[in-house]
Subunit: 278 residues, 2 copies
Amino acid sequence: MTGDLARLSLNQETVRQLSLPALCEALTGLGVPGVGLWREPVQRYGPEKAARLVRDHGLTVTSLCRGGFFTAGDPAARRRALDDNRAAVDEAATVGTDTLVLVSGGLPEGSRDLAGARERVAEALAELGPYARERGVRLAVEPLHPMYASDRCVVSTLGQALALAERFPADEVGVVVDTYHLWWDERVPEQIARAGAAGRIAAFQVADWVTPLPEGVLLGRGQLGDGSVDLRAFRRAVDAAGYGGAVEVEIFNPALWERDGTEVARETAERYVRHVLG
Amino acid sequence: MTGDLARLSLNQETVRQLSLPALCEALTGLGVPGVGLWREPVQRYGPEKAARLVRDHGLTVTSLCRGGFFTAGDPAARRRALDDNRAAVDEAATVGTDTLVLVSGGLPEGSRDLAGARERVAEALAELGPYARERGVRLAVEPLHPMYASDRCVVSTLGQALALAERFPADEVGVVVDTYHLWWDERVPEQIARAGAAGRIAAFQVADWVTPLPEGVLLGRGQLGDGSVDLRAFRRAVDAAGYGGAVEVEIFNPALWERDGTEVARETAERYVRHVLG
């Protein structure tokens, strides 16, 4: 299976029951070459130590999740957010990834001004872009499903993410293509082509869409092949657009977290071969 | 308040705790001139009897909810759906409304073909349109929020609904503009203008967006003013597009259903004046 897994990366949150060392063991055991990391567990473990650990296992860190949350109206909160994002850039550079995933943030408390909030995101990108670039890190704007528009991310479509990214150089700001967030949108194939042609696809993440959605709609992502998304068509579209990078599986699902993490990693690799490749 | 309420309609499901006679009493008592009806309670009450009741109260039926669910792959299921929709058209004509709201249906079991499912919707519209038109009823395609794309409605944006409707004469097929489903989409103002110019806005429904969403995400709509939607901007946009019809409040929320229905109707009328008008 190893050749098939050459582009596979497993996002740490998919098997959050595994410690970072156990995750690295599981991935090398399976022949999965990539890992997507999250800030909180990396901070707990220590960024330098984490960097050494993944390097010693021969793993590539395909992304760090996540910075963002740029939409606060209050200047002090905005300053804190920018400081925190500079720290996230530093952590990305330390663990050796060139991709910092950004979740933009929702509407400020009491606000109904989506367009204004999207402008706050652009302002933050303008401020952070050069800082990140100097450290070899690209900001990757992730559009989240429109069901998160009020409370997590005012950037809801790949078109909106691209419109934001295109205000900046392609090596400063890219976009994340995540099947879970974008699968319903018929404009996505054309937008993937546009993003790929401009070298803007910073990351490709996969998860399946299953219903019913759980309360709060955060932890209901489906294992690959269990849901409604034509994952193979997405993968072919990003490939046809010239993207040759990692395919990162990112699933938030308590049913997966209750199982043996190494077994979930193995199942995910098999599902990847069956439903994403080919 | 009566003059302010000249365009207000209350959808029956907003106060489902009220019987049809109690609902009619409440609306006339408040000076609300319109009511949106649902098929199941109308069938239970009897369509002719319901028609007489609302007429005797001087109420206008602004829409009947709902037909649709057109996406079955199996021919027998498709035939049943079309039969049921012809019955829905008949019921709409009987209760005296010219607007039958259609929820298109989700992906067929095991399918990942969104584009194909949308074509099934177009085929059904082609078959039902003339039947409805002969009975003075227009089919109103309602785009539902993308979070319903797999299990309820493959038509997720006003742009998609318009693209479907525009294949047919404007007096056969229109669209529903519902703030709950569309508020996140920055293309909506322009699409409302396009829909209005073509005489395609068959209904304008309002509800607010509040989080966290409940499990299953069906019953989490917010009372007007409680959430993230700029309702007034929507109302101004449909007006500027030439729509002069009813503003129908349609909120599915168990917290409202637990309260006294007449009191909820009164509160809703007040919220309408405060957050939608002006």
